[in-house]
């Protein structure tokens, strides 16, 4: 899946998890890729089932919610100028400094398995995590996602 230019934010200057999610969510909402209430739903889910991953050398978060809040499957992306804290997935109360955010708006995740697998493949290599954090354009991001299978 190609990540659209309008859904890519580079070196976002923002100071909280909530702001990042609201920012990316509003981009998705502007194009009607998600339904009203998507951001609230993601925020709520993040409380119960956090999505921060302790990847090396920077943390990556993959906020998402149920497919019924989504009109069309898309991924929004942001790198953050200053890391913000997300709770760690599968841990109780552990906070992670997040530098890269992939907001997943997925209607049917199984249909996007190839893309999800590629992303997770990138997360597992410190070199590609660093590259993700240093992305300067949507084009560069898509190249990176598509090259590293």
């Amino acid at each position: 899946m190609e990540i659209e230019k309008e859904l890519v934010a580079i070196e976002l200057e923002i100071d909280s998890k909530e702001s990042v999610l609201a920012f990316l969510g509003s981009r998705l909402l502007e194009k009607a890729y998600v339904k009203e209430g998507f951001v609230e739903s993601v925020l709520k889910r993040e409380e119960t089932f956090p999505t921060g991953l302790p990847t090396i050398p920077f943390g990556i978060a993959i906020p998402h919610t149920d497919g019924d809040m989504v009109n069309e499957s898309k991924i929004a992306f942001a790198t953050l100028k200053n890391p913000v804290k997300f709770l760690a997935m599968g841990q109780s109360g552990e906070l992670i400094d997040i530098k890269v955010v992939f907001m997943l708006a997925l209607k049917e995740p199984a249909a996007q398995l190839a893309t999800l697998q590629k992303l997770v493949g990138l997360f597992q290599n410190p070199e590609t995590v660093s590259k993700l954090a240093a992305i300067t354009s949507a084009e560069e991001l898509n190249d990176l996602i598509n090259i590293k299978a």
Partner: protein, 94 residues
Amino acid sequence: MKKLLIICGTGIATSTVVKGKVEEWLKENNLTQDVKIYQSKVSDEINRIDEYDIVLSTTLVPDNIKDRVIDGIPLLTGIGIDPMFEKVLAEIKR
């Protein structure tokens, strides 16, 4: 055949990725015939966790079922994958 359950918060993105990774691993190790994979969300499974032989989770589970669950986060971060699969393998061979 062993029943392997994969759970995440809402049974959406994360468990889909984990399932893909586990399927690859089963294939590489010629274990496809030994394991049947189920994918779900944690809230649907808490009360019937005993129906499964192996449980991999990417989300926090209640204390009473904690001992039954193997942490699947390594499949997302790449950190600690080998020890995690050793645990899964031990359960398959049990």
